[in-house]
Symmetry: C2
Subunit: 255 residues, 2 copies
């Protein structure tokens, strides 16, 4: 009794998000279609998270089992499955790894840590190669501003109630999360914010990225972050950055 | 009497190339439309080269003058022009720099050196983010293969008759060119071939990239390159790589 764990990469621009929704095109629906074509039967596909519309993934994880069962039977060896499944997927989605996991494995509940990247294109004029792949902040973030962003990111590391950085209207049992790392670096004209945690609240990375951007632009300072976090008040934090700059980058499971 | 020198970036995928062609969409036509909208009169736009359909540019240079003249009059200061022109261009083209040059300046004839990049995505399964932005070579090029590619690239540096690396059917006065640098590096799963020269023959970079790829895959060795070059015979060189991996990266002018 085993199921398949897939690692998937996708450009989220043309999708309503990962999760199947009525009357909208989702990544999950495309995976369902590809699995039906390859294996010859309907499958249950369970993803590691529900990414929003327009959000990308460098590494999204999902399990595949025959519909209604907790198991998958196939004569294909896992090494062949990425290429075979990708052949049934559109150009903006690919499967780059596949391995067997026990039937008990759960793609969402067994996540130990996830890492997101937020990309900010920081140059006066838009770059065609960055369209839909980053948020464009035309005003230059200075080296000093970048250093403030770094300090601000560092102060997010730890176990906190992150409700200041949660979209209003969402409801979860607990708003406490543990951020294990948060870094900011400039790579050419792109500023990369990288954050790993045991879980994220709704829109949390996009609000964190917006708050750090305001730090970078001098509207907030790194020293404001602990106060904003402690306020447990969404209105204290910065803007919600657009989906197009956000990438699910890595998923770590309990082994 | 002065004209404007623009630096342009574009994704070539949806265009027939830089040059205006009847019944086809070119970069030049889009620039003409944008200049008409911004300046209010028709312009003559002269580009630094004629990139092929599907070829990209990180830095393409072109001059703008009022149609039929060698001069441009505008109240806009050059610093404002990139943003203003980009607002009249589609998402896959942008202008990121503008400066005044003398009327005598010629965007093509005054080129001292051009640098191209060829990007090869070298991993078993296609990457959605690399679609149309690199050539996909699924078979792994080993570190030893990469070292052979480096040696092969080095042996292209110098003044040679490069007709072995020119598409058949093209006619030019001379097939001698001077390659000033040629390097190969692996960046993650992408192999980047970078070559600078005082000029390039038709399809030369794509044929060089194909020849180096065959070196990387062990079909040719670095030691074969001088013989292939000396043969002056297109059939001795490797395949022509697809346009989607090619980027005009830098243009240097006589000052």
């Amino acid at each position: 009794m085993k199921k398949l764990l897939l690692k998937i990469r996708y450009i989220g621009t043309n999708y309503c998000g990962y999760q199947v929704q009525p009357n909208a095109l989702s990544i999950q629906r495309r995976l369902n279609e590809a699995c039906l074509s390859l294996f010859g039967f309907e499958c249950d596909i369970v993803g590691c998270s529900r990414t929003d519309s327009g959000v990308h993934a460098n590494e999204f994880c999902a399990t595949v089992a025959k519909r209604g069962s907790e198991s998958l039977e196939t004569s294909l060896i896992p090494d062949r499955i990425p290429l075979a499944l990708s052949a049934h997927l559109p150009r903006d989605i690919s499967v780059f790894d596949a391995e067997w996991v026990p039937s008990e494995f759960h793609a969402r509940y067994d996540v130990l840590e996830k890492e997101y990247i937020y990309r900010i294109y920081n140059a006066p004029v838009r770059d065609p190669f960055e369209e839909d792949r980053s948020a464009h902040i035309p005003k230059r973030i200075s080296d000093e501003g970048l250093e403030q962003m770094r300090l601000a990111a560092q102060s997010l590391v730890g176990t906190f109630d992150f409700s200041s950085y949660m979209a209003q209207g969402s409801s979860v049992a607990s708003t406490v999360r543990t951020v294990t790392s948060a870094t900011v670096e400039r790579v050419g004209d792109v500023i990369v914010f990288r954050v790993a945690a045991n879980g994220f609240l709704y829109n949390m990375v996009r609000i964190l990225a917006g708050t750090l951007t305001e730090v970078g632009l001098g509207k907030l300072s790194a020293e404001d972050i602990p106060r904003i976090t402690a306020a447990h008040d969404r209105s204290q934090a910065g803007m919600t950055m657009p989906a197009c700059g956000l990438y699910l980058n890595r998923v770590t499971y309990r082994s």
